[in-house]
């Protein structure tokens, strides 16, 4: 078992391009520790400023539909059953049975062992490679703690991919990251990314969960975002939703700034997924404003932006119903989750 990496890291295309051919822990550390520090006060003030926009009428209607369209409808409970996953899928396809104009969500997000039930329930609505349809996302790598050996994490990932998952939400090893072993975290992400490759050569999209609630500082969030992107993440994601604080607007803004910088540097577009704690449409709209103002409106598609949420959709539906009928709706008119 290798704990340190004196000889170098696993090759990852992006990191090799940025840091040079012989990828070493030192090179990685020099890069990550050399990132400029985050102005925490400025960041929070900017996020607060972005929260003051008033989004009304047709803009609000567009925002509400965009929230649904970019939502990963999630159930990650120990008590999940195939039946619960099936009803989640039904809701993902038809969020509001009283209004057929309601768009479907982007994906359902479940534990790895629930993937076959989600795939089966989706049937022809399951996205197959293209942009139409609903994706199945699976959390893997000993979610939510990430405390398991690499072999287990890889088996967990392969299992979910083989079962038909289109997207893998992995957690980073926060313990290794916080104790400065960036190479360990890097290698694990690279290995999981390889485990996402299907026999036909295509690969499941990899979302890397930083669990920002455990990273203590904004500087760490920035480093972890860079680390995940360098190691090959398709998406970076704030949280598991099992740790408080989960997604916050400042953290999301900071991660979007890293994505913006990466795009300016390389032209590549990395996706972003805030998850956990976003329950009100009003909050979600603030995230959309932040995306549009930081990386641009072209990020507001399900290929580059997701909300990880379980109860957010219900609140959005209540708002949609209010806009459609002209009177306030209530929880009796949406599903009980």
């Amino acid at each position: 078992m290798t704990i340190t990496h004196p000889l170098g890291l696993q090759p990852a295309e992006r990191a090799v391009r940025l840091l040079g051919g012989d990828l070493t822990e030192t090179a990685l550390r020099l890069h990550l520790d050399g990132l400029t520090g985050v102005d925490a006060v400025g960041l929070e003030q900017r996020a607060a400023g972005l929260s003051t926009r008033s989004i009304k009428t047709s803009s609000k209607a567009w925002a509400l539909d965009t929230i649904i369209r970019t939502c990963d409808l999630t159930t990650l409970e120990g008590a999940d059953t195939p039946g619960k996953v099936r009803s989640l899928v039904a809701k993902a396809i038809t969020p509001d049975a009283s209004d057929p104009t309601t768009p479907s969500v982007a994906a359902v997000c479940v534990y790895g062992d629930m993937v076959p039930y989600a795939v089966e329930a989706l049937g022809s609505r399951h996205a197959t490679g293209g942009t139409e349809g609903i994706q199945v996302a699976a959390v893997a790598t000993a979610f939510p703690s990430g405390r398991a050996s690499l072999a287990i994490k890889l088996a967990d990932t392969r299992d979910a991919v083989a079962a038909g998952a289109d997207e893998i939400d992995m957690v980073i090893d926060r313990g290794a990251f916080l104790s400065g072993q960036y190479g360990v975290v890097f290698d694990q992400i690279v290995a999981v990314r390889e485990a996402c490759i299907r026999p036909d050569g295509s690969h499941a999209h990899l979302k890397v969960i930083l669990e920002t609630g455990e990273l203590q500082t904004y500087d760490n969030v920035k480093r972890a975002s860079w680390l995940a992107i360098l190691a090959g993440a398709d998406f970076i994601k704030t949280s598991t939703g099992k740790v408080s604080p989960a997604a916050t607007l400042p953290v999301t803004l900071l991660m979007l700034e890293v994505i913006r910088d990466w795009h300016r540097l390389t032209g590549e577009k990395i996706g972003m997924k805030p998850a956990g704690g976003i329950r009100a449409s009003k909050d979600a709209v603030r995230y959309l404003v932040t995306v549009a103002e930081t990386v641009g409106e072209e990020w507001l598609t399900s290929q580059l932006w997701r909300f990880g949420a379980s109860s957010l959709v219900n609140d959005v539906l209540l708002q949609r119903q209010k806009m459609r009928t002209g009177h306030y709706s209530g929880p009796d008119y949406v599903t009980v989750d």
């Binding site: 119903q321 002209g326 009177h327 306030y328 709706s329 209530g330 929880p331 009796d332 008119y333």
Partner: protein, 293 residues
């Protein structure tokens, strides 16, 4: 040396807190003789919406409390009112333009109404419920249960009613375990605001009674059509005149859309009556096997 007066600007009472109106609006409350008394918050439809959310959140705890406990909590309101009667007498006298003796009599009546309804808390079920005879070895029990969130209008501009009218509307709603969003007397809201302050320091859980000040004609259409409101008490809505000429009948029509219970307007102040309690309960009938001895 003369002292600067401190003109008060009162706030709403929603979910056990005192927020300003979301709209930022206020209106002047004047005495019967036209003198300035205070500023009150002018609630908007969004304040009404927030109040319904708070009221809904409070239903579980309040309806789930034992009837005996609810009776105690309501009786405690009467005790607190007794302790602060001087303030209520003063406010009623100035805003209604009545004598101190008349204002005092109104406060007495309001306290009596609280006590009267408090007593019903653990007794109305005996009157409104029943053990039904059935031909089999079963108990068949009909039990009244609270209906949920009730939106209410306190009597508007009724002489001798700025406190008594409000209490006569709220008390029968909450005694059975409902929660209430009530729009106070638009022109004489000071008693309602002071009552909110009493409630905030009483044992009534936050969100059980939510007090809005402002225009019933503006707020009530939103509450009447709100899909998360279970019943509508139009006691004080008889003279309502909306921006588009809506009357209380339009409120009733809007309420029918979501099958709400509706109590029609009352002229003057409603008298304490068991019917006001049973108007906001629904009967649940359950079968249960008798034990075989």
């Amino acid at each position: 040396m003369s002292r600067l007066t401190v003109p008060k600007t009162y706030k709403l009472y929603i979910g056990g807190k005192f927020p300003r109106s979301e709209s930022g609006r206020t209106y002047e409350v004047v005495a019967a003789d036209g003198a300035f008394l205070a500023n009150a918050a002018k609630a908007s439809r969004k304040d009404a919406r927030d109040a319904v959310v708070a009221a809904r959140a409070a239903v579980g705890g309040w309806a789930g409390a034992t009837a005996y406990n609810r009776g105690q909590v309501i009786y405690r309101i009467a005790e607190l009112l007794e302790g602060r009667r001087a303030q209520f007498v003063d406010e009623i006298a100035s805003s209604e333009g009545v004598s101190v003796a008349e204002a005092s009599a109104q406060v007495d009546l309001a306290i009596d109404v609280w006590v009267w309804y408090a007593g019903w808390a653990d007794k109305y079920a005996q009157v409104a419920g029943n053990a039904n005879p059935v031909s089999g070895p079963y108990f068949n029990l009909s039990v009244p249960e609270p209906t949920g969130v009730v939106a209410a209008v306190a009597p508007q501009g009724v002489a001798g009613g700025s406190l008594l009218g409000l209490v006569s509307v709220i008390a029968p709603i909450v005694v059975s375990g409902n929660t209430v969003v009530v729009v106070a007397d638009e022109r004489a809201p000071l008693s309602a605001i002071s009552l909110s302050e009493v409630l905030a320091t009483s044992d009534v859980p936050g969100g059980v009674i939510n007090m809005l000040t402002g225009s019933p004609a503006e707020i009530m259409p939103w509450l009447a059509a709100h899909a998360d409101v279970n019943a509508l008490d139009l006691t004080g809505a008889g003279s309502i005149d909306g921006a588009k000429g809506e009357t209380w009948v339009d409120l009733q029509l809007a309420a029918a859309e979501t099958l709400k219970r509706v109590v029609a307007p009352v002229a003057g102040i409603p008298r304490p009556a068991l019917e006001r309690i049973t108007a906001f309960v629904e009967t649940k009938t359950v079968w249960h096997t008798k034990s075989m001895l």
